[in-house]
Amino acid sequence: MSTDTLTPGLVRINYRKVIARALADELATDPTVVFLGEDVGVAGGAFKATEGLKDRFGDRVRDTPISEQAIVGTAVGAALMGLRPVAEIMFADFAGVCFDQIVNTLAKYRYTTGGQAKVPVTIRMSNGAGSGFGPQHSQAAENWFLNVPGLKIVVPGTVEDLYGLLRSAIRDNDPVLVFEHKNLFALKGEIPAEPDDSFIVPIGVADVVRAGDDVTVVATQQMRHRAVQAADLLTAHGISAEVIDPRTLVPFDMETVRASLAKTSRLLVVQEGPPDGGWGATLVARTAAENFELLDAPPRLLACDPTPVPYSGPLEDAWLPDAQRIADAAERLVDY
């Protein structure tokens, strides 16, 4: 994360507002980039995350009806004709409404046509719990798409990663789902004052957020930040945790995790969302199969409870693993 004194050439900006910056930089760079979604234009977005784009880019930024299936399908069709559409689905939970378009149309287009079709569509969605939005507006919906080859999935956890990965996503020739965690909207970070390609973050490369020797903690988005807090707590117990943020779920950077396990021999995956069928279980399973001999303790998934996201504060707070629970789980692995 960023410091309080500003580096020259950089601007300080929050996770919510960096979205418009990343979009603007790509819209300005590439005339084939277009952007559509509900209230994204004139109103500047439901979260005011896309303000100013309509004024600056006119017809290339379009407000749509409340028609998520049409939004995704339209993005696909436009992509086939040479554009690079970015579609906003306001809350990731609404991906349920256009799941078919994402899973059966977008993800499979290239394959089904034997490689004829290139579908460079980016879908931006706000995901995640912790803000009291209740069961239908708080899901970690990235876990719905793991079994669907053809998509790339990015889950930026910092301002810098959101900026760099969103730009990468738009430039990518494959469909990319970008999940923006709404409980990180106020998080601050630093990006270049002027568009600068060196701040683009490649898809598929994990970030070793904190180096350590005793246990590897893999976490994304708000769990990444809690994992760092947990690492602080663990230091007091003489435990040195390595925190890895994969940043991309598909394709997954197994190599960085493997290299870490070669040091630590212990894996804790902290995943937002219920435990079954998520990326956490997938990572644990791959690790168990591919890196069994590296492990000195059972690889462990710490996820949310197997329930929908409850609304009430005390329930939602308990549902999300906090730093203490992460630290405890890591400590148990080290003590194994």
């Binding site: 209740g134 069961p135 239908q136 197997p306 609304y311 329930l315």
Partner: protein, 326 residues
């Protein structure tokens, strides 16, 4: 616009509807206050200015009839008879909340009064009401389902599928389109190819009636006709109630996109004023009207106080209610 007739509602009934509209208005005043003071997390969606639609339609219903509605559903759920205190408690995330605090403002539900649910996904509830109506048809209960949704929701797939299914199966459904002229922030003409939404009813083989949604008597009257038709096996009706959302879309929206003067025009046609004027014509005194309002305020305040005093759920209540058996 259909005009209200004197026969459509007795003075008593109109007074009662006015009381309920006042209660809902006060309920949302307090809710708004709680949210603006960040007493509550998440978001809320106020329907102030639209109370006559829910109160009018539910007044045409009888026991056993059901409603579904949206995240902007306080009015519908309360009009259908959910208790004020437990509705407040749900918004506060309390144990005594209608849903034990698991749903919140966007999910107020009280099955015991036929308020089948508030839905946070635009359009998702329309087929649910279709299903409740199918059950009524199969079981021969004569029950009717009313589903409330917005002008923006008329562009989503479920609207189309539910309307057609109800039309072809001749299900006893009232599709109550609360046309408040905006989606979240988008004026209807920017998102809707033909803004005369009522004509869509034709394509689904059902009557479409437009009504002044700020005139509770007028709403009651068209709802009664639709209910009668539905109970007699005549199938669904689309009721397009023209109304206005006096606040922004949600807690964070100042509604700066509204053209100047628009709000004032609609405030002058506030459903509470419209009903009060009518009650005046029917001989109800100012003092009586004030008393109705003041009693409503009293009732709502007391309910809010009760809700505030209740406990939050214990953290492990989050594990309950996922499955019945497992």
């Amino acid at each position: 616009m259909t005009t209200a007739t004197t026969d459509a509602a007795t003075r008593e009934q109109l007074l009662d509807m006015q009381r309920r509209m006042h209660e809902i208005r006060f309920f949302e005043d307090i809710t708004k206050d709680w949210f603006s003071r960040s007493l509550v997390r998440g978001s809320t969606h106020l329907g102030q200015g639209q109370e006559a639609v829910s109160v009018g339609v539910t007044s045409a219903l009888r026991e056993g009839d059901t409603t579904t509605c949206t995240y902007r559903g306080h009015a519908t759920v309360l009009a259908q008879g959910a208790p004020l205190d437990r509705a407040f408690a749900e918004i506060l995330g309390k144990e005594q909340g209608l849903c034990g605090g698991k749903g919140g403002s966007m999910h107020l539900t009280d099955l015991s009064v036929g308020a089948l649910g508030s839905f946070a996904i635009v359009g998702a509830h329309l087929p649910v009401s279709t299903g409740a109506a199918w059950a009524a048809q199969l079981l021969g209960t004569g029950a009717v389902s009313a589903t409330f949704f917005g002008d923006g929701a008329a562009n989503i797939g479920t609207f189309h599928e539910a309307m057609n299914l109800a039309g072809v199966w001749k299900l006893p459904v009232l599709f109550v389109l609360e046309n408040n002229l905006y989606g979240e922030y988008s004026p209807i003409a920017t998102t809707t190819a033909n803004t005369d939404l009522r004509v869509r009813a034709d394509t689904y083989g059902m009557p479409g009636i437009r009504v002044d949604g700020n005139d509770v008597e007028a709403v009651l009257e068209v709802a009664r006709q639709a209910v009668e038709r539905a109970r007699a096996g005549g199938g669904p009706t689309l009721i397009e109630a023209m109304t206005y959302r006096q606040s922004g879309h949600s807690r964070s929206d100042p509604a700066a996109y509204r053209p100047p003067g628009e709000l004032d025009e609609w405030l002058a046609r506030d459903p509470l004023l419209v009903a009060a004027r009518r009650l005046g014509e029917l001989g109800v005194s100012e003092a009586e009207l004030d008393a109705v309002r003041d009693r409503a305020q009293e009732t709502v305040r007391a309910a809010a106080d009760r809700a505030l005093a209740w406990d939050e759920p214990a953290a492990d209540r989050r594990f309950d209610d996922v499955w019945e058996t497992r």
